[in-house]
Symmetry: C2
Subunit: 335 residues, 2 copies
């Protein structure tokens, strides 16, 4: 197995290399412990087929500044544990039955297991996050705790929005910044810090991460409606079925004329309706309002802002390439 | 307000002084934040009328070695936040309606609020725990994370035991060590560490805390059945009503003769029975088996072991007095 390639005498790790490193490290987390009912759900969640996006970003950020990506392996694992903890508790709160094609923890083990195993994962996340050189520990910890709290705030806003029909675009943007973007930014910044980047460069990567995170979530919203049915992991239109306040729905409520608004309101309050009929009807309004293009333009805007940040980073372009490929893949994905 | 008394030229803080300090510090936690639905439950839980036992122990442990109890104020607050987080999630998992005479969070705000606000509290706990001098940070963090994980393990064992009728005394003792004793021990040890105690003395206080914690939990079990109805915060017999595997029930299942066991089994499986009738019947078996005295003897044994640990601590007895008074209060309490 080739873990690196030589490039102007430096080690640049490929996405695949880093993913393997993360998965190997996750396999080494001691989870074969008692009580089984606490650890089985954790093992189940962590062994599932995730993208490992955030820890890969951490290692890549380290690799921008250092040949030794193992410097940030432990906090990268901590961030992945944290991310999976949020999915576990979010799925319970959203009563989601499936995640990545598998039944969710509360479906398999019940609500209490989902609560308690999630709590244990959050604690475990901290254990891995804290495994950094002493002089960086306070800053890494405080960034992580700040981020974790923001993710909770984002989740709360998301739940609050379910009960409202007057959510503004600005409120929505702030919600996805908290729920999604800050963790991606934090993953990158911690990687940079451990790669001994200057605080200026670390902050630049944080900003890059915020823009990427916003684009990433907007893309997710878009794919739920306009994704490739065959390759998209979730069922198309899931957000429409459960009236989720996505960018598309918020813009539709904002931009619709009287008859479109009446139609939207009808579907938002309709009970016992056929999912496909509802999805097609709402999608039809989205099409009329040109929301696919509006959404794509906004994604492009965030993507370009991200690239602009990135171009200001004083790092050789050979070192930057893998991260650009990864981000481009995220933006071009159809699922 | 008098915050200390001079005693052979040293500052020794009274229980009341320390409780005030804790409550003042808790009032200063920034919780008047958005989204309200996230922070309101946290404010509710932290402003409720708790004993503040654990953070007081932390400050007292510091005061054994130092005149400056403010050294450990922040981690003491972190421990109290953590303890209240566990109560919040435990009450949700146990479907408890009331806590300290007030409705529980999930009763007032729903299950999702209880989950997410609890998560936020765990993160907040870490923020306060991490606010210690840099050279102590790794040890304090790793003790806290180890303890927090053990508390989760204890809660899981407790839930596992609900489904079993063959729980042994040894299993029960291990469960309460994890669920209750280690956090009391951790509170004391962190206080000692911040008071610049030697690692030998810190460990001695940890052991002291384990013994006190075991005695404390056994006393709780006992008070549920034999407590003073007027002063005990919970309803007498609550554990009996819900078949909770307490020390008393486990010993009863172990020590009962055939007819007593048959009677016990009847009550453990009975449905739609009058609570008072069930409580009296089960209590009657406990009385026949002399479980009050057996339990009191065991509590005394742990208490004496604790005092033995404490006597080995090379600290002037004037400094030890307040902690001994507090522990004696805990052991003599009728509620």
């Amino acid at each position: 197995m080739q873990f690196y390639s030589y490039f102007i005498n430096k080690m640049i790790y490929s996405i695949r290399d880093l993913e393997n490193r993360i998965n190997d490290a996750i396999k080494k987390i001691p989870l074969d412990l008692s009580p089984q009912a606490l650890y089985d759900p954790i093992r189940y969640v962590l062994s599932s087929d995730g993208k490992r996006l955030r820890p890969i970003l951490t290692l890549m950020a380290t690799n921008l500044f250092s040949d030794d990506v193992s410097l940030s392996l432990s906090p990268a694992v901590g961030i992945e544990i944290f991310h999976n903890f949020t999915l576990l508790h979010d799925d319970l709160m959203d009563r989601a039955d499936m995640r990545r094609g598998n039944p969710t923890v509360h479906q398999l083990w019940g609500n209490n297991a989902a609560i308690l195993s999630g709590d244990a994962m959050l604690i475990q996340a901290y254990t891995y996050i804290a495994d950094v050189p002493l002089h960086l520990l306070p800053d890494v910890l405080s960034l992580f705790s700040k981020t974790a709290m923001e993710v909770c705030q984002g989740q709360q806003y998301d739940m609050d929005f379910e009960k409202r029909r007057d959510v503004t675009e600005a409120e929505y943007m702030e919600m996805i910044r908290l729920k999604t973007a800050v963790l991606i930014a934090c993953s990158l910044k911690i990687g940079a810090m451990l790669g001994k980047a200057s605080s200026l460069d670390s902050d630049l990567l944080y900003q890059f991460g915020i823009h990427i995170g916003m684009a990433f979530q907007l893309k997710d919203d878009l794919l739920d409606v306009y994704g490739d049915t065959k390759t998209f992991g979730k069922n198309i239109g899931g957000d429409i079925v459960c009236n989720k306040k996505t960018f598309l729905l918020i813009k539709a409520l904002e931009n619709s004329n009287a008859s479109q608004r009446k139609e939207l309101d009808k579907w938002l309050t309709a009970k016992d309706v056929d999912s496909t009929t509802k999805i097609n009807a709402v999608k039809n309004i989205y099409d009329e309002l040109n929301l696919k293009a509006i959404s794509e333009n906004l994604i492009e805007k965030y993507y370009l802002s991200a690239l602009d940040c990135f171009s200001n980073l004083p790092v050789a372009s050979a070192r930057k390439n893998e991260l650009l490929v990864l981000v481009d893949n995220l933006m071009q994905r159809h699922k």
